[in-house]
């Protein structure tokens, strides 16, 4: 088979460099001071779906009841009506704020957040989505609208660091492909006091940052778990699906520390775990240390409910693998996203449960 020019890797790379140069030229030529998007291989890529970025509940209803053709027609008719903000909207604004601070300190660096709209929506809905992005002046320059097909292939291609979607099945697919992902849910309409100067990200520990130990709890109970954790205190836990995302956040945090901005760092991370500091908590801290990762605040609840504590923290997003905790977080209005990993999702309090109901709004 003749080797075609387009499959030569050196030629592809050269072509990519030219595309990149052309992009820089284009953005430099713009009259508006729109910052150009970062080079993907250096950026921390956060892919959000259209339904997590915007509130499309009413439109979703039309899709379910009247079918795809009516849904697309409806969106086209309302092209110029901006959509209302969705669950991931505050997170996106917070990411943009971090970028502003980073650009000030490192004007030539591509180590920034790159927010990408990754949706299986039809491209004709795209006009309304872009108009909405313009309305809120969001810095989202990259998007993939796949017209019904799964966006998973594109997530992989762009080395996505985190994928947020309302579609639980796509999130599972992403995790199985090794991409950090979480399912967002419609949040309660509660007055949130989210910080607009500091991005706050909260993580559950087991089955989110770490892996393996939750299996012991679910299959053998808590006592066995405590014994096991004490015995293996010095052995680092295996990585959970969001470990690499925490790592990416840490990388950006260190850029602020390097410029003496530790006290005013616009990124803050929290560990909110059911483990107790006294018994099973040590292994967690030692694991983080062995990974060279820092977490700003580690909160060990020893089984107490997470809701009230999260209400105090007011994170822009909280990741947990158990729907029980997600519900508990949502109740007082915390933005919570479910990480479908491991055995936690199949069991609750030792009893096998049905899969979480799909939020199709």
């Amino acid at each position: 088979m003749a080797e075609s020019k387009t499959t030569d890797p050196a030629a592809t790379e050269a072509g990519e460099e030219k595309d990149w140069t052309a992009t820089k030229a284009f953005f430099d030529s713009l009259k508006t001071n729109k910052p150009r998007p970062p080079k993907p291989q250096y950026a921390v890529t956060i892919a959000v779906s259209s339904r997590s970025l915007f509130n499309m509940v009413a439109e979703g209803k039309i899709y379910k009841e009247d079918g795809v053709e009516k849904y697309v027609a409806y969106q086209q008719e309302h092209d110029n009506e901006p959509l209302m903000p969705g669950v991931a909207f505050p997170l996106v604004k917070a990411l943009m704020n971090v970028n502003t601070r980073l650009r000030r300190l490192y004007p030539d660096s591509d180590e920034l957040f790159d927010i990408v709209l990754m949706t299986n929506n039809h491209a004709q809905v795209g006009v309304r989505l872009i108009n909405s992005i313009n309305h809120y002046d969001l810095t989202i320059e990259r998007f993939c609208m796949t017209g019904g097909e799964s966006p998973i292939g594109y997530l992989k291609a762009y080395m996505t660091n985190l994928y947020l979607s309302k579609d639980g099945e796509q999130v599972i697919e992403a995790i199985e492909e090794g991409i950090a992902a979480a399912t967002t849910f419609a949040s309660r309409d509660v007055e949130n006091q989210l910080s607009d100067t500091q991005l706050k990200v909260a993580f559950d520990g087991d089955a989110v940052l770490f892996s393996e130990s939750e299996i012991i709890v679910k299959q053998h109970g808590l006592d066995t778990f405590f014994e096991h954790e004490k015995e293996f205190e010095n052995k680092p836990l295996a990585q959970g699906p969001l470990k690499c995302f925490l790592e990416a956040l840490g990388m950006l945090q260190r850029k602020f520390y390097a410029k003496n901005e530790r006290m005013t760092c616009p990124i803050r991370t929290y560990l909110v775990t059911s483990r107790s500091a006294a018994s099973s908590g040590v292994r967690v801290l030692k694991t983080l240390r062995s990974w060279g990762l820092e977490i700003d605040e580690a909160l060990f609840l020893a089984g107490a409910p997470k809701g009230p504590l999260l209400q105090k923290i007011q994170p822009h997003i909280f990741f947990d693998d158990q729907m029980f905790h997600i519900e508990g977080a949502k109740e007082p209005g915390t933005i919570a996203a479910h990480v479908p990993n491991g055995i936690g999702q199949k069991y609750h309090k030792g009893i096998f449960i049905e899969q979480p109901a799909k939020d199709t709004t």
């Binding site: 499959t7 030229a25 795809v68 491209a123 990259r142």
Partner: protein, 290 residues
């Protein structure tokens, strides 16, 4: 001087109503490195083979919906091969059951004239130079992409992707590029490309409308490689105005395009011009992505 041979195995289309597409023989059949004189076995499949099959599926589905349909793809195979290879090419097309209406055998120098006289709506080749020359003479042309991911080779759906950078370009955008050092010739090239894409886009829009949103054998898309999202939005609206409602849209803003194209798109880009400004080398990609 060319020699046009009708394919007796394929029902001839009404060329005035059809979407006449000329495809280079070297794209359909593997151009053999060594010419074996007197060889008679069918030529090996080339990189654009699955593309040919996809076109066939679209035609078949169109005829299923309406047996009197005239808006079909009408494929001309363009060959610059030596005379002794002609019969082998025709036999190979028959062997694979390819939906090729006519074979056009001519010298390389006469190719452009043949394309013009046959009122080809699009010329496809894997050779950048051939595509460049055709475009310069006003023949709509595009480079055929070789799908590299074997897991995503699609023979049952034809994916046609248009370049948003060209279609979404505006006077204001061109003015900005002028300030960046692009010459008038290059900027004019943009406008020409936009014009030559229009006719094909209108035809694709009409053809796409024969099918519903889901389960269509023809999938249309838009890709903006280096412009901003506003250019992409502008391209979406322009295409809408031309009657083409694309299914998929990608705004890359400088991100690598190959992952998208390798995921099952047959994409063409035309490297229209290269120029140098203050030692930096810019390449502008424009044209039709098919």
């Amino acid at each position: 001087m060319d020699s046009m041979v009708r394919n007796p195995d394929v029902k001839q289309r009404d060329a005035a109503q059809a979407v006449v597409v000329a495809v280079s023989s070297d794209a359909i059949f593997d151009p053999e490195v060594e010419q074996v004189h007197g060889a008679t076995e069918p030529l090996r499949k080339g990189d654009a083979f699955s593309f040919m099959k996809a076109i066939q599926v679209v035609n078949e589905r169109l005829l299923t919906l309406n047996s009197d349909e005239t808006l079909l793809f009408d494929v001309i195979l363009l060959s610059n091969d030596s005379e002794e290879k002609h019969s082998r090419i025709i036999a190979s097309a028959k062997h694979y059951g390819l939906d090729i209406g006519r074979f056009c055998f001519c010298n390389k120098e006469d190719s452009i004239e043949s394309l013009q006289s046959n009122e080809v709506k699009l010329f496809l080749s894997m050779d950048t130079n051939d595509v460049c020359k055709a475009l310069q003479k006003g023949v709509p042309a595009a480079l055929l992409y070789h799908q590299t991911d074997p897991n995503h080779q699609t023979e049952d759906q034809l994916k046609v992707v248009f370049s948003g950078d060209v279609i979404g370009s505006s006077e204001e955008m061109l003015h900005g590029l002028r300030e960046q050092g692009f010459t008038e010739t290059q900027l004019q090239g943009f406008k020409t490309a936009k014009g030559s894409v229009k006719e094909f886009a209108i035809l694709m829009g009409e053809m796409r409308r024969r099918f519903g949103l889901e389960g269509s054998p023809l999938c249309t898309g838009l890709m903006t490689v280096w412009s901003s999202r506003d250019v992409c939005a502008s391209a979406l609206k322009t295409l809408r105005g031309w009657g083409l409602l694309v299914d998929e849209a990608f705004c890359l803003a400088g991100a690598p395009r190959s992952p998208i194209l390798n995921l099952g798109f047959i994409g063409n880009t035309m490297k229209s011009s290269t120029y140098v400004k203050e030692g930096r080398d810019y390449s502008m990609y424009y044209g039709l992505e098919v």
